[in-house]
Symmetry: C2
Subunit: 309 residues, 2 copies
């Protein structure tokens, strides 16, 4: 039955019998980070050794994260500080970078300004991509609105794009700024780094993710954003252009069905769900779930474990 | 053509020829407040005289507002401070009151707690309705999250309802609190006072409305709320029970098509759009708009003006 492929397909647990086939058929492994490589500030057990093994087999490694709070440079530093010193900036594709690349490949006018409702990563990537006139970001986290009669909230009419991402410093000032730009500046783009409902910031606890901030701006502007992170195809198209590897020879490894696995499946990659992050085995097996990865495993290190046995 | 009534119906400008018919056929006038009675801290011209005229004709007056930042008591005080001393608390139906009444008529368990992501009006109405165990509200506007490894954000497992409304003090603490209650407390209700995208706080400028805060929580919980304010039918059903007047003998007067006018039309009331708030004549006449009031006028005082000529 066509049209029912996604839900009728079953997922296989990664095991001795299939890990070699997987490794041999794949040239590039794409890893999500939060819940896959690390949880908050802690590396997940066995990640380092697994990455080393894959590198030693000549596999290309790519780290694709929807977390926009950091820039690629900051991500590379995080890898290094956690003891994985072989990861370079060029191997990292964050949604903050994707936002900057989206504006770049779409020739965003250099005389227009960009407002960021988000943390430092977005502004840093926009700056590295050569954009000037950057507004918002962490600085506006300290701004308060003094509401009184006859006071008018002014915004820059030259803002031509608003980029919204994860922001633990969300406030009414930023929401009003972003809203005014999108509602009142003709043609102003509304770009979302991603729409993850929650993300794991530290250890096991989940916190409101970019989906929260993005939806807030949808609510006040009644507009829908252009999403550049997973599962949008923009990130994959951009990645493909960089890697020049056929998607059938890629494996997307992630902990989220609706972003990571969907992202991989949409592109025609092999997919491996790891249960070390937000998705549990019962979420995967729930009848309401129709996003089925090719494989699932408790964690990334299972690739190493089964390949050695 | 059935099913096309809304868009094919035309709206008449209020004028000498139709105002008497309107007044004579209506027993109760339902007024929105922001953009209709006042704009921010200023009464709209001619409102006082028009309300006095309608009262002198024996019409019932009701003030139905989606703004949840104030309680009915605070609204009555606002009317009085603006020189309209005849308005009583009982004539006011705010979405903060509607939230409290929703929980009351649905027998919300008295041993459960309620978390408010909103300003003072919600908590005040909940308290007046006899609810105990009230959490959140203005107090949480001052709370900051100290994010560090191994720190855990705790929430009260006894919260059985989260009420979200307008909140200029929105922050990550409140979003996380509301999100955890809705995601983790079994059966926890998610109630929205309303979903207005923006509202006019002072004079002519618009600010993100409850639609912004409510959507933020939808984004982080991936759940849809029960909406109690306009245009939801809850408020109207509750009003009908209080007023005991047939809806065909009511006229809803408002400045918003998607809340006020839709609310009135859904219930079978006559509808009058005033252009003194967020909707312009070109919004009304835009081909994409299919919410057509029976009448439109520049402001409430037109009722008086045309009835006197």
């Amino acid at each position: 039955m066509e049209g029912n492929n996604a839900s009728s397909q079953t997922s296989s647990p990664l095991c001795l019998q299939n890990v070699e086939t997987l490794i041999n058929s794949v040239e590039a492994f794409l890893f999500d980070c939060d819940g896959v490589i690390w949880k908050g500030g802690k590396l997940i057990e066995g990640v380092k050794e697994t990455l080393e093994m894959l590198r030693s087999l000549g596999k290309k490694l790519v780290f694709v994260t929807n977390n926009s709070t950091k820039s690629r440079k900051q991500y590379a530093e995080k890898f290094h500080s956690l003891g994985i010193t072989t990861v370079s900036e060029e191997e990292i594709f964050s949604s903050s970078y994707a936002a900057a690349m989206y504006l770049k490949v779409n020739d965003f006018p250099r005389d227009k300004k960009i407002y960021a409702l988000g943390e430092g990563g977005i502004l840093e990537e926009l700056e590295l991509a050569g954009f000037k006139g950057l507004l918002g970001g962490p600085e506006d986290g300290r701004k308060n609105i003094q509401l009184k009669a006859n006071s008018r909230f002014e915004h820059d009419k030259d803002v031509g794009a608003v980029v919204v991402g994860d922001d633990q410093y969300i406030n009414y000032y930023k929401l009003q700024y972003a809203t005014l730009c999108i509602r009142e500046n003709p043609g102003c783009l509304f770009i979302a780094t991603n729409r993850d409902a929650v993300y794991t910031m530290f250890d096991s606890q989940e916190w409101p993710g970019a989906g929260c901030m993005v939806s807030a701006v949808c609510g006040s502007t009644q507009k829908e954003p252009i999403v550049v992170g997973k599962p949008s195809t923009f990130m994959m198209d951009f990645l493909l252009q960089k890697l020049q590897i056929d998607t059938s020879k890629m494996c997307m490894v992630g902990d989220r069905l609706d972003t990571d696995i969907l992202f991989g499946k949409n592109a025609g990659c092999k997919t491996l769900l790891v249960l070390s992050g937000v998705t549990s085995l019962s979420d995967l097996q729930d009848p309401s779930n129709n996003i089925k990865p090719d494989y699932y495993a408790s964690k990334v290190a299972d690739i190493l474990k089964f390949s050695r046995q």
